[in-house]
Subunit: 309 residues, 5 copies
């Protein structure tokens, strides 16, 4: 297998990294229908843990079964499946080698309103499950943010030492950030920057809104036209070391698919590396989800700024 | 990517193994031109260490360069490249993700006549280099065989614990075995059995001759027609847990390619999982080697017992 | 290379320190345009983490790219680049050996008002990145100051044990200190003293104002003419073990360059060892920043008390 | 400081290595009079340990003092000083930062005829002394060769993990090798190959003679004209991964300086990366040694194949 | 207390060493009647272990009691008492703080003819006993010499890390050395060199004879007049890094006191740092031993080369 030029360009941003980490990044980037394009489309399924099973799966009860998500990711030609220890454990043997896996190694529930996450798995788990990467969530801005950074830093160091890539979900929140602030452009960009500084290879953020949340940050954005999502995505890419780190964007709140496809196109136009779409996919019937993910892949593969999907 | 049925059948023999090990076996079995067939064709390049650089590479000086072997394995569509730490280190970054790698973790030279190997690398090296497997040589029958088994056993345990597959090169030799005995059918089968008992996932042996070396073993083979290599290979497969372990065969001493192709066809007919061909390939000019390896792949992919290549 | 007499005089203050630490201090002191003079001019780039990427880099978008800062520090002939893990990781391979690096190993963001820092990297990271020093921020006076001191003390011990020099950013703040108090002469001097007591080899402080913040400290300064910055810098040097520890001063809040150059001249006249200038440099266009840093170097190299820049 | 193109080309052969290791290689390659040329000239002083102090230093008693060797290496503009723990410890503080140091971490004496070395220092010692590299001797072919390889392998792994470069002195010897065989071309090349396979960044060998020692290796060299040292050096470079690893050559047995300069020129013409000259230098009066080393540097810096020095 | 100039000159040879080690060296050098002179006279009592109690103490039964040796060392104004764990343990409480102690941490008996030593104590023992130094014996040349070097190296590293000084007893012996060779000048010098290379702060050797044992070493001593002990001691000091390491000499085989005093004077004249006299002292009645040690101290304190004691 030849690594494509597009993928090699991405890998070149990780000079000096252990070859095993680069090989795992290559595995993600060469797999599935986006394979070779430098883009990623990932299925994340941690909602059972994060939101509860009923809220997550009752609308499509087939999705209670971990195997369902492996099947969906494979059928749709995705780059990877990302999930907590238990879900991956339930399918890793049956689907061994069929697709890259990302072990989501810390998790929170919503039975309380703690803004924190428990470390629920480790590097050895990831290796035993055959994962290509390990993933951590951080909540920049929350009361326990620095403890989170320290936990994640240790996980990143150990992962790199064992040849695993690291994905960081950067979700700013906290007492000083209102609900709208969490997706404010300056805040999302800040989250991406922090993830990059901690050593993440792949950064996951929410699509940024046109809000600027921090008063001190406003002058920096003065005079910019932030009305287009593509422009805002481009700024997030700047915050991710001028695009030297892979950034993927969540699907954002549920919406009709047309709005979703427009959003994906804007992410593509802004230079984002791809999408990570959970509820918006697995809460639909299998075929519908597969087709929708296929469409998302098509959009990412189409020429940026072209006539779109 | 769907794991093919042929590969799934092979993987099913490893029930209960860590999913990461199975994922790495799947990686080897799904890669290259034999991908999906359940067969493996591997390029091993430890001869610089084992026989010396001049003897190994002077006939084709381009092969002094580690990158050459990565290129050859990729171009020929092989399943993997197997080599010691230094050779892999020299190319693992440049070719990250391009093909499965097997770290040959113990090595011997022939500047002395010790029948032993030095442990020259470990599981952490394999992970940092992005390898799918780690490999060890054992010399059943030699004076230090049990120390070797113990070293290899530790390596196997650590490898499995970190999701790596393990290849064991089983080369019986020692004071009680003459040169011809080393490839005797009973002895080769015995070596394969020991490798399987030590926990090897993939076993590498030499094509067995019709000799029966151990007097005590002779009655067991009485009345069998051992004249055909396919029959002898079939016996080695029996010794490898009735085929529950992957066995690959070396190309044996340099010979004309017709003889080599016949041998490969016999290995295929006997149920061998594939070939591991070093000197016979890289000591030829690049194009010739690539074509020869292509032919070997063709033979393994062709119907067993058919009219052959 | 001969260590210059000026540098040897500085190194002699670190008698009994591991030679590796002294070698790394020598590396910083012998590098760049100030090399050999006993002075240091350092580029610190942790603002993406500390203030957010937009506020830090939007005025000069080229600076979103980590490589930009390596290039700037090299082109301007600086002593070193100081930055968090992610930024250094993004350039350490490409610029290996080109300039001394300082790993800023704890970091804070301003998405919350915590007065604390997360430990985001360690000694092993610093060694693997090829750094000459590791850096920590302390906030003497803040609620978690003692936890910070304890974290930093552990980092210092491990760094020294591995031959790395340690830079401590001493920023007093806390419930008992108003905004103006943070740069009050007595408080800045106090911060420098605490850093020295914790074992810092290099101390970074802000230029002190003429304010005396602590009522109990006022009699100590009675009758002194604190109107000149050089005098105040001289007092900070006293607090840094009578000049036995290297002290570098930040550029302070953005100001016109004439004011900045005057400040640098006063630091020089007061016996400060150098400057550490971040936003004031990288928020300008490359050429302008390089020239400004060149001017700062010239001032530090010129005779103290001379006609200045 | 800009890394020169010649040095960058050498560093590019170490892709995927920790940036700290590359920075230390760069330090060696950018220092002294050969700095920037891609060549190295190193002073090794382990003879007090290996041959005894009287034999080593009585001809030039000033050389009993460890400081003498630091001074000689600095004055002559060499790339580095390599020595055991005690010698480096005696001067590392006084000469901190003045030149790159290589800690020779295993050592033998000649009070017995053991073909083995004691591990006399470790990575932490190297870091505390401010070394850029750690060095090990191997005796491929000796009875304890595999234990030596295993010790060295552990040292290499730990060194790389802490950002240190590794030099391996490859000296084949043993029951199966006569005195003349130890410098035979096939044997020297074999030693270089083994060092490269073990993960050495820099390999030190003796200039190879035209002897071919191993009967099995003879056919590989048939028909080659091995009468010129440059040709033989070129073959050793092939054995060092086609020149992807740095190889330096010892001065060989004492000889008149004209013969030595001719030898150095041949090493240069054959593509060797430099020289490591101990007794031949420090057994002469200081000025004479400095001038001779200067001439050696000149030869390495002059055009290969030109009219020589 | 002011450290005397003579002692400071000695301490300056240990630049870069942990200050705690230097403080312990200073403790030894400032204690007793030689305090401040740069000389040491030490009482070693390991003969009960090394030769058996009867042979060691029956001639002066009071010496069976460990307290006897503490009393003798104190009364005679010695620099330190050196002994194994048990002997020190028996008196360390009673005489806590009364004199510097050196824990002899490896020991051999003569119930067998093994040329090896058992590690019988460690750094923690030394600290708990209030010792200033820890001591190890090495047998350069013996079959297990490299294992001994490796054990001692670990002890030295740990001792330095805990601020303890290290004394190495260097006693070459082995299959290749006859009885006379063990005290041959070249061999004693070689032992001193090895101890220095291993990192010893204080080296203990036997007074060298005029024999040159190693054939290869003879040319190095050609033409030298080795008939005087002072000349030979001077050569041993060269071997100890040109006098940069403290070397003390044993009293040698029992002899009449006049011969002993002459020997001590020659050691003084040759630049030796002092004496370590066991059997020759404690096998005499207390008063006689005290007076003899007093005389030895007088000789070391008298002008070198003067009319002697």
């Amino acid at each position: 297998m030849r690594i494509s030029e597009a993928v090699q360009r991405v890998l070149n941003n990780y000079g000096g990294e252990r070859p095993g980490v680069k090989a795992n990044l290559a595995r993600l980037l060469m797999h599935g229908r986006t394979g070779g394009s430098g883009k990623l489309v990932i299925l994340p399924v941690d909602q059972g843990f994060e939101h509860g099973p009923g809220r997550s799966f009752s609308v499509n009860p087939a999705a209670y079964d971990p195997h369902y998500h492996f099947e969906l990711a494979i059928e749709a030609g995705l780059s990877a499946l990302a999930a907590p220890l238990g879900l991956l454990t339930a399918g890793a043997d049956r689907f061994a080698g069929a697709l890259p896996l990302i072990l989501k190694a810390n998790n929170a529930d919503n039975l309380s309103d703690d803004r924190d996450q428990a470390v629920t798995a480790g590097v050895r788990d990831a290796l035993q499950l055959g994962c290509s990467a390990i993933g951590y969530t951080i909540y920049p801005g929350c009361d326990r943010q620095y403890e989170m950074f320290e936990e994640v830093r240790e996980g990143i160091a150990e992962a790199r030492d064992h040849g695993l890539a690291v994905v960081v979900w950067a979700y700013p929140r906290g007492r000083h950030l209102g609900k709208d602030d969490e997706t404010a452009l300056d805040v999302v960009a800040y989250g991406a920057q922090i993830a990059a500084q901690l050593g993440a290879h792949i950064i996951k953020v929410k699509p940024p809104s046109a809000v600027i949340a921090q008063a001190e940050a406003r002058p920096a954005y003065e005079g910019m036209d932030l009305s287009g999502l593509a422009t805002r995505v481009r700024h997030v890419m700047q915050a991710a070391f001028a695009g030297r780190r892979i950034v993927v964007f969540s699907g954002g709140p549920a919406k009709d698919v047309t709005a979703l496809y427009d959003e994906i196109a804007a992410i593509r136009d802004g230079g984002g590396h791809g999408s990570i779409v959970g509820r918006n996919s697995f809460q639909r019937p299998f075929g519908e989800a597969r087709d929708m993910l296929g469409r998302i892949i098509d959009i990412h593969l189409s020429q940026a700024g072209g006539q779109g999907p």
